[in-house]
């Protein structure tokens, strides 16, 4: 049996056979009962909030008015009555506070960059503490400055820069090609300084 023979037969259906879908169930007609406006459980939150706020304001203003209407009395003065006559002649005179209260005096403002004052802890001396160092007078003297380099004076000024002018005893050839020539002859490395200004003038180096 060949392939052409088999294709002459009745064609195979390509559709998929399925059962008819049943209708979806109708939605439940029962509705959730809506709360009526006149229901007992509904609270007038808006009125409560506004009323509460007004009540707070009234209470605070009342307290403020009462506090403001209280008579002020001197803190340390005697109790006066009858047009300023002391009620008790034996009562000592009123305490007059000093003009400047040392304890309430504000500390001087710290300057910029100045650190906070250090807290000093007063501890009893330790028994095993090392003894204090004794500084001998000869040690306290500053160290003598290093001897200044004696600059060469007997250099060939035609070939080399003046050591006194350049401030070093390194022999610098004035002419770079001559230095490279000498380096070639002596098989030495050539040390070249590139700089701004005039090498032979200390002010301009």
């Amino acid at each position: 049996m060949s392939y052409s023979e088999s294709s002459a037969r009745k064609p195979i259906p390509t559709g998929i056979l399925v059962t008819k879908a049943s209708k979806p169930a109708p939605p439940d007609k029962k509705l959730v009962p809506r709360r009526k406006d006149g229901d007992e459980r509904s609270l007038p939150w808006l009125y409560i909030a506004v009323g509460g706020s007004v009540a707070w304001v009234v209470a605070i203003m009342t307290i403020a008015l009462v506090a403001h209407s209280q008579p002020t009395e001197p803190a340390f003065g005697p109790v006066l009555a009858n047009n300023g006559v002391p009620a008790n002649p034996a009562q000592p005179e009123a305490f007059v506070p000093p003009e400047i209260d040392e304890f309430q005096k504000e500390p001087a403002p710290r300057k910029r960059g100045e650190g906070a004052p250090k807290l000093v802890r007063h501890l009893p001396p330790r028994e095993d503490a090392p003894p204090e160092l004794v500084v001998f007078p000869e040690d306290a003297r500053p160290a003598a400055p290093a001897p200044k380099q004696a600059l060469k004076k007997d250099v060939d000024r035609k070939a080399f820069a003046d050591c006194e002018q350049i401030g070093t005893n390194v022999l610098f050839h004035k002419d770079p090609p001559a230095a490279f020539q000498r380096g070639r002859e002596e098989k030495k490395i050539v040390f070249v300084v590139h700089l701004s200004g005039n090498f032979e003038d200390k002010e301009f180096t």
């Binding site: 390194v170 380096g183 050539v190 590139h194 700089l195 701004s196």
Partner: protein, 171 residues
């Protein structure tokens, strides 16, 4: 030039090097204060190729270390690249060894980096020290002539202007 005033520096430089100087920049003096100006030191072979560069002012100890490094590296590289039996120097090997020396110093100066330590950044790193930048420059251009190196050191590392103008003094 404080480093050159040191006795040890003077002794070492006069013994091992032939020294010279060149003005490549300028500065201004305003009310007695120096504005601008800088210095750079180079250690070169007699043909003008740069072995080492020290950009900017350094202390005497730092300068002495760099001078000794230049001298010792040159000696080591020359020995390694010379065919001792014939006495001829392999220039290519010389250049490669100098590159390796600067690469090693760059890695030491620039600190730990990601990636291969045998490779260099493509561009000059800006966040490292001037000395590390000089090593980067000399590793990317080993044994280049001083005429090729010094403008880059002066302008790119020291950020100075090449100028032959005299020093300006203003009140």
């Amino acid at each position: 030039m404080n480093a050159l005033g040191n006795d040890r520096v003077v002794e070492y430089v006069n013994e091992h090097f032939v020294s010279t100087y060149l003005k490549v920049g300028t500065f201004r003096v305003i009310n007695g204060q120096k504005v601008g100006g800088n210095v750079a030191s180079y250690f070169c072979l007699a043909d003008g190729s740069v072995l080492h560069a020290v950009p900017g002012q350094v202390t005497a100890d730092k300068f002495l270390n760099e001078a000794r490094w230049a001298y010792e590296v040159r000696k080591a590289v020359l020995t390694k690249s010379t065919k001792l039996a014939e006495g001829t120097v392999d220039a290519r090997k010389y250049r490669e060894l100098m590159k390796q020396a600067h690469l090693e110093r760059f890695n030491a100066e620039a600190g730990p980096r990601w990636g291969n330590k045998q490779s260099l950044p493509l561009n000059m790193p800006r966040t490292v020290s001037p000395q590390a930048q000089a090593h980067w420059l000399l590793a990317t251009r080993p044994m280049a002539e001083i005429d090729d190196i010094y403008p880059r050191v002066w302008t790119q590392i020291l950020r100075e202007e090449l100028s032959l103008r005299p020093v300006e003094k203003a009140q």
